[in-house]
Amino acid sequence: MSADARRLDPVDVVIVGGGWAGSIMAKEMTEAGRSVVVLERGPDRGTASDGAYPASIDELEGNFRYRLFQDLSKHTVTIRNNSQQVALPYRRMAAFLPGEGVGGAGLHWSGVHFRIPPDDLRLRTRVIEKYGAKFIPEGMNLQDYGVTYEELEPFFDKAEKVFGTAGEPYKVNGQVVGKGNVFSPSRSDHFPLPALKDVYTAYLFRKAAEEAGFHPYSLPAANASRQYVNPYGAQMGPCNFCGYCSGYACYMYSKASPNVNILPVLRRHPLFELRASCNVLKVELDSDGRRATGVTYVDAEGNTVTQPAELVILSAFQFHNVRLMLLSGIGKPYDPARNEGVVGRNFVYQNVTTSTVWLDPKTETNQYIGAGGGGVAFDDFNSENFDHGPLGFVGGSPVWVNQAGVKAIAAAHSGGPPGTPRWGSAWKAGMIDTYRHSLRIDAHGTNMAYRDVYLDLDPTWKDAHGQPLLRMTFDWKDNDIRMNRYVVDKIGDVAKAMGARQVHLTRREFGKPFDTRQYQTTHLGGGAVMGTDPGTSALNRYLQSWDVHNVFVIGANAFPQGTGYNPTGMVAALAYWAAHHIRTTYLAHPGPLAG
């Protein structure tokens, strides 16, 4: 395919994807003195062009015409619930909203910025220690990450300082220092910024959760609570709770993004080059397939171009990374019949349901006020913070009020309480009452990996460049449904303590298949996971391909299970972790970092 491609002068490092992972890796590689080219499929973006007030805060364009999101007309995926079905194209945005353009999902995200719970990193080991190997359901590919919290801690800390993350710690260096999450591990330092103020609904939730006996804490938010200058010299302004985070470039320079926190510095670096509107077709391998020689892409003018490089870093969105590996022949594709092969294995999602609580009609909940990462959560039913023994499921959910700013079209779509018509006068009255006097509580849960849930290439449908679409085979499983239903019941306890006028608890239903038509979350994961066993992971614990040592693959694709937390904090920490080992070991001695 690349015989007629124009061949450019070699560079040291070529990076595919200009989001958080790609920007972090580019920063690290230029600091190491390497020449870097970042290839981004979408357009160049920045605050001035995409986040200028007031034109940018247009809900129709932002959340309903998907201004910052992937152009599905050119690239999408196919989806089915099981391998007996014909997977069909995801033609219209709904269940998940991948980004496109410089900044990637890091431009349109909300800002919830977590460190993964230590037990989640070694979940298989932990479950077997606590409950025995028989506790793991048949068909669940439960795995460890191969890296510990202690190893990652310096990189969580670094990412928080780059992002300007606001939060309240619980323990710093083993000492209890604040009212943070009592289940969170010790930190080496405080958050760089104090927690955001609670919006009213979060304040009510905090009070009620305490009354119900839980342990509420402020969500860690990459929405600056004060003016901030990060270690790179990039500047952030204080968040004004405008309510336009998710789906928007922040006009206040308050929400962390690659565009605000890294690229302003990187763009000035002489070793850095960004090429937007360049769609990578494949990673080129040498004749024995053991070493990458560069990548081939289609540039903005439609030319096919090969960029030779010593090191190839895939840092596109989770499923694009997996697809590029499959298209390039990096790693053995997963075979669900034999549970063998690694690329496409352990495709995971996140198991989120949102419940609604109606308060006294005199109480104005002001749902348009919000910060994307702000809110109050409790972790009493997340990770291994509770005894799963009598419950008989693996996994858990943090529970939270994360009021990111509910806007008018979204309110109209949400409508009134269950049973209210979807249009006409009854809808109007119910919708207005709900918007003004209700609040939303999420159970933001894990999704385990299963043998028959996976990614591969679709046999029928193609993208704009004639390459096969990625095929998702995914459905909800009983273990995860039981987990969701158990945790959602706890939301009922909180609602009661709030003095709710009416409560609608949304639980996942047994036998109801994954529905691509309804927004769930964009927190897709797995498919090219990290680990210590090349038989069950595509990447070693440094996110290096087991098979092609000069290819590193950075992203939520590395997660063996879907976590209860938002993925970005973990992706950023993994990027710094991988970069550290590339800089300290790989560049001097190129070769496998794990044997």
Binding site: R65, Q85, R91, G243, I432
Partner: protein
Amino acid sequence: MGIGGLRFTSSRRQFILGLAGAVACGTALTPSGRAAAAPYRPQFFNAAEWAFLVAACDRLIPADASGPGAVALDVPRFIDRQMDTPYARGEQWYMSGPFVQGAANLGYQLPYAPRDLYRHGIAGMNAHAATRHGQPFASLAPTVQDGLLQAAEKGSLAFGDIPSVVFFEQLLANVMEGAFSDPIHGGNTGMGGWTMLGFPGARADFMDWVDQYGAHYPLGSVSISGERA
């Protein structure tokens, strides 16, 4: 609530005004019901389609005690303008074949862009109205119109290979957008949708309001172009 005698009369009056405007090639209404200076001429919809659109909008969001209806908010104008966007031409959707129908939960699989759905859907609704009731949709009594819309919503009609629920969902989604998006797009006239809901629009600065718990926000809506409600 909302279909009491007085409110019904009010809704019906606006509906008739809207329809009359349509027949005369468009009269935009302000929230107070005054005819605006420049009558709106639909660019995409023909007279029969426009009459359907105005009538259907009036049923989906009727004027009532809660606030203005879709016709006063110029939702038909919004939808007509949307028809001239990449979205309505299907340019934001993956529209490569083959088009294979499957389980509903696997999502939309028809080869039609929103413009096509409106063309076929409105023709289908009007044909159905004519067969069942001898008149186009816009000429029927509101309760009969509601019955047809409910049938479309339940998916009990089909317009060729387009299930009625597909057309209904397209229409309802665009009606919501028109009533509650920034007026820059042609709907939500006078920010009447936002005012009814209590949404401040482009104010987008709650630095000094975030911890004033439970209190009513005192400032009216503003739009992107600087209008104040």
